[in-house]
Point group: C2
Chain length 677, copies 2
């Protein structure tokens, strides 16, 4: 087999052996800096700003301080290929002894081992920026940090020694600083400033959208100052540290937990070191694993560990809590989207979707989705996708992101968008916002720009996006039907009287009363909401008119974002309310032919409620005879005594009755559309 | 500013500080294993096979041994979610003391610091597989390795301790092994075996294509055995270690080189530690930097270093050599494509494109491209893209790869393919192979599945792909023209005689000789190559017929892959040959109207030469009067005395002569198409 060898084999094995060497993690990333997001001057600038801002936000929030950030970017030197970047935050500051490691050492940080949602999780980002700066300009990073109870701020200049992956302090002093507490980092690096796509500006705008509690100032190289003011002074609930949940835990991971556990015995370890395992459950698990439960956690054999894991998988556990997570929430998603859209007024805001938390590899995560459609959005372009992870906008690598794949894998034609071959990004005037929150985001690389493919994540993404897509579909078909029916209505009301007039004139007879005729022809129940907003509140009046030939018992159902519903005042009072789902419903008095009634809603201290925000459904009349609302979807499990009685009555005394049938049909079809999920 | 704090600020800064901790690189990758390509069972299997196979190929080649690899994948245990993977290579083996670190320690290896092309460059891959195996099944890796001059093979079982990032040996013994030398790794991991897209099989097939010197055997879980036999027993030239080239060197990098240098003074350091810097150049650089040259490398101040770098950028240096690189080469690219296509016979093989080496960040790289079109390839699908980096197929993250972006950024409509909006992957029966070879590939993550965007890389990719695309365009237009002209030819030769017959019959006259008439109507020079292949050789006969009204002096030009040209025998002998470019040309005796002549080519010991491989060009007649070949493109700088004289003659005694004009036009247009590059 061996061909004329370059040298006798011994020395070859030895030669190769002699080349074997350890690689410093800093050397590795210095040589592969593209992995960290530093592969060209434009992206390197964005990454630097991103890492510093994310740290500032994390630090402020952890300390319960409203984030107040300032980003200054200015030209440096003659070459024109260097920029000075300064990012200042209002955080609690960093104690002197930690400053060098935090900024001058890769794989060092406070959030990696804590099982809670944070922007920074790797302990790499900001030190990587320091590394890149040193690499391209050989200039040290200048750190200024002050904690509340020290008079002066510590000012350190340091570089990252890549051979050792350790900080080297170049200079140190104490200075007065006007901030009470906070941190400022200044770097000089090879970089390029741009606006528009994938720019610091776009990143900061995206950040402001999902972090409305933060105030962010950007000073551009030409001196332009852009301020994103605070939209709320409410800090998001501080996400708690959570214990690892057994769902999706791998054998090896369980092994580490057992080894690391300080508990007396396995039963304790299970119930105290893991989330979702009650004392009772821990007993069941131990039993299922055929163990006593008194064994010392570290003592378990590999075999016993396997049995324990099987036990954990077999026993019913408490679902993972969202405590470790800090979702954006429906209101902010909506406000955020408005914010992005600016002047563009879309026709339709889908009610934001927020999935319950799930677990992958012991880490809880949840998916939120917002969708807007129509209006000024470009109709011939692909759907616009806004990706967020732990409240951080993702601007690069859209093509490699699990969020994108989930969107592309859905057949959007079923939901009313154009899509070539039923896969890939659909085309249409549609903007989709997707946020993944997790105590551990599965990024495809240290640059944190795309999420890795994962079955569990993909399922949640798909369900959330499909839910939003179903709202879109309902909207589109509603629009279509309304259009058709109201056109018909308009025509009849115009033409008939004229015909009647002409005819009466010819045969020289008085013009007959057409109301009953029109009713006969129209044969619909109409629902017309009108929204009146003033400076202090929003008033919604819903007119319901029975243009059918016979009396109707109608049930009106309202679906609206729960936080909005909570504020609402009603007349008449609804028969039932589901605050969790944001639903309210009324049973109207029997409404005679040609009769009209109305429901009034008031939203005090709200000015941003729109007709789009209110979804009305009607039971008691079938889809074909309904105008301005949809029949009640099949997935509403509210009981409808009156409607059913009424249906029965009419079935009894009425002639052939298409309603019951149609109503069932409506339900059926509603179920079908459910199955899409 | 500070809101009701969770606790007094001091303790907060302190609290945060107390959480600061170092993160072991193994812990980091254990938690972020998706970054290493271990995010789901299917991909984890592929990554494991890939890392082991790549190492086997690298080791064998470095030792000058023909690679002989065996991959065995078998079911393990009851659960059905575990597989046993064994990969065995014919390499030189690993000396005992290095085995633990090579397989049980991240960021440890022999190729990271060596500036030469290799598949593995990070010192992460195989240890990551060991880490993943331990994590999912808690089973140790079993390593068997034997070097030529030891009787027995070392057999170690080890796991990777993630807290320490160090190997822990579980068992060790010495065994007899039938191999003279080599290494085998056995892992049990949570994995899923599939065939088809992104499967081990696809990866190994791709590997075999661009590594025809390797023999690879795959045994699937169901026992199926697939063997990729060696296509050649020639090892590719072993790529040499090269010094870093100053082009694209960053200031910081230069700093490290200066610090690390063992040279007496800067002048020596420049000429000996850097590639492309002659002794003379080093003097110029030193002068340009305003230095003496006798300074000790380590002694230079930051300012002096900046000047030195400026000097390096200002002075003319020797271009980077391809010594450190091992391209696939035109023959193998072509054979490789045939191999992929199997039964699918395309209409057109573009001559493979290979760009000269360039440099990014001191590391040389080059781009190779192969393109095939038509035949059995699906016409309605997007172009199929085969990506390779250092002879390794890239199967994941196509959407995130610089190669894909380069393809998508080209307006393929200009080259005859469908493309919506002139960007994105074009549609058409087209297969594109792109190979990037470099001493350092800029992967987007440690999983090594996509190349990061980079200006220099993108330029080279674009130029190479466009060159291939131009060949495609030429082919398509040639096909179009030929079709039209030969249709015309056929019709005339059928219809005219019949007409003549009928007419003569009617007027009762003898049928006239039509040859001159047909000639007058056709007015073309035809070139018809016929290819005859037998078991031992290929015989090509090129018939040239002058169907124009007057005598022609013609020059025939042949372009063909140089290695094929080298073998050719000719009758008559060509007037000139350019072996480098693979070109030969003939000046024919004056060819009378209606006269015919021919050129014969023989390729002994070749059976795979096809009409498609031969591109013929003709000078001495304009495009409009040429059938079966193209006019000589403008970028051929061969001198054409006779043709020019002839053109002049005819210009002198002939009437208005469109040829010169058209010939210029042809040249012009050829230049234009060049400018697309």
């Amino acid at each position: 087999m061996p061909r004329t060898l370059v040298a006798p084999a011994r020395s070859i094995a030895e030669q190769l052996a002699s080349k074997q060497r350890e690689i410093s993690v800093a050397e590795f990333f210095e040589r592969n800096r593209q992995i960290l997001g530093f592969d060209n001057p434009q992206r390197s600038l964005l990454t630097t700003v991103k890492e510093a801002v994310d740290n500032g936000l994390d630090a402020s929030e952890e300390a319960g301080i409203l984030p107040d950030l300032r980003v200054e970017i200015s030209k440096e030197g003659e070459g024109g290929d260097r920029l000075r970047v300064a990012v200042e935050d209002s955080g609690p500051g960093i104690v002197r002894r930690e400053i060098p490691n935090v900024f001058g050492r890769l794989l060092y940080g406070s959030r990696f081992h804590s099982n809670r949602q944070a922007r920074g999780q790797q302990g790499i980002g900001i030190s990587a920026a320091v590394l890149y700066a040193g690499l391209t300009t050989a200039r040290p990073a200048r750190i200024t940090s002050k904690i509340a109870e020290e008079e002066g701020a510590r000012v350190l200049e340091l570089i990252l020694d890549t051979q050792k992956n350790l900080p080297r302090i170049v200079s140190e002093e104490v200075q007065l600083w006007d901030r009470e507490h906070g941190t400022r980092i200044e770097l000089v690096l090879k970089a390029k400033y741009i606006r528009g796509r994938q720019s610091p500006l776009e990143y900061l705008r995206g950040t402001a959208i999902v972090n409305p509690h933060a105030r962010i100032v950007l000073v551009e190289p030409d001196g332009t100052k852009i301020t994103f003011e605070r939209a709320t002074s409410e800090l998001p609930p501080i996400s708690k540290e959570t214990l690892p949940h057994p769902y999706g835990l791998e054998l090896g991971e369980l092994g580490y937990l057992l080894k690391a556990s300080k508990r007396e015995n396995i039963r304790e370890m299970l119930s105290r070191d893991l989330a979702g395992v009650s004392v009772r459950a821990s007993r069941e698990v131990v039993a299922a694993a055929g163990l006593k439960g008194s064994e010392a956690p570290a003592s378990l054999s590999g075999e016993a560990q396997e049995k324990l894991l099987a036990g954990l998988r077999g026993v019913e556990l408490v679902a993972p809590s969202a405590e470790g997570l800090s979702p954006i929430g429906p209101m902010l998603i909506k406000r955020g989207l408005r914010n992005v859209l600016g002047e563009v007024r879309p026709d339709f805001f889908a009610p934001p979707v927020s999935r319950p938390p799930k677990v992958r590899g012991g880490f809880p995560f949840l998916v939120e989705v917002g969708l807007v459609y129509g209006g000024g959005l470009p109709a011939d372009q692909p759907l616009q996708l806004l990706r967020f992870a732990n409240r951080v906008p993702l601007l690069f690598q859209q093509g490699a992101c699990a969020i994108t794949s989930a969107v592309a894998a859905i057949d959007w034609r079923r939901y009313g968008l154009d899509q070539k071959g039923g896969s890939g990004l659909p085309a249409g005037p549609c903007l989709l916002l997707v946020h993944v929150a997790s105590t551990k985001i599965p990024f495809t690389s240290e640059a944190k720009e795309a999420l890795a493919e994962d079955e569990d994540l993909d399922r949640e993404l798909t369900l959330a996006i499909q839910a939003a897509a179903r709202h879109l579909k309902a909207h589109l078909s509603r629009v279509g039907r309304r259009q058709f029916a109201s056109d018909k209505f308009a025509i009849i009301q115009k033409i008939l009287p004229r015909l009647a007039e002409k005819a009466s004139h010819l045969i020289d007879q008085p013009v007959p009363d057409l109301a009953p005729v029109i009713t006969k022809i129209m044969d619909v129940v109409t629902l017309e909401p009108t929204v009146l907003a003033d400076a202090r509140s929003v008033q919604v009046t819903v007119k319901i008119t029975n243009y059918t030939a016979r009396p109707r018992v109608l049930e009106i159902f309202l679906e609206i974002d729960p936080t909005t519903l909570a504020l609402a005042e009603y007349a008449p009072a609804p028969e039932g309310i589901d605050r969790g789902l944001g639903r309210a419903w009324w049973t109207l008095e029997k409404l005679a032919s040609n009769a009209r009634t109305q429901i009034e809603l008031r939203f005090p201290a709200r000015t941003d409620v729109e007709a789009n925000d209110l979804d009305f459904y009607v039971a008691g009349v079938d889809e074909a005879h309904l105008l301005g609302a949809d029949p009640l979807p099949g997935d509403w499990d509210v009981r409808l005594p009156r409607a059913i009685i009424e249906a029965a009555e009419t079935a009894a005394n009425g002639p052939t009755d298409e309603e019951e049938v149609d109503y069932d049909a409506a339900e059926a079809s509603a179920h079908v559309s459910e199955d899409e999920g």
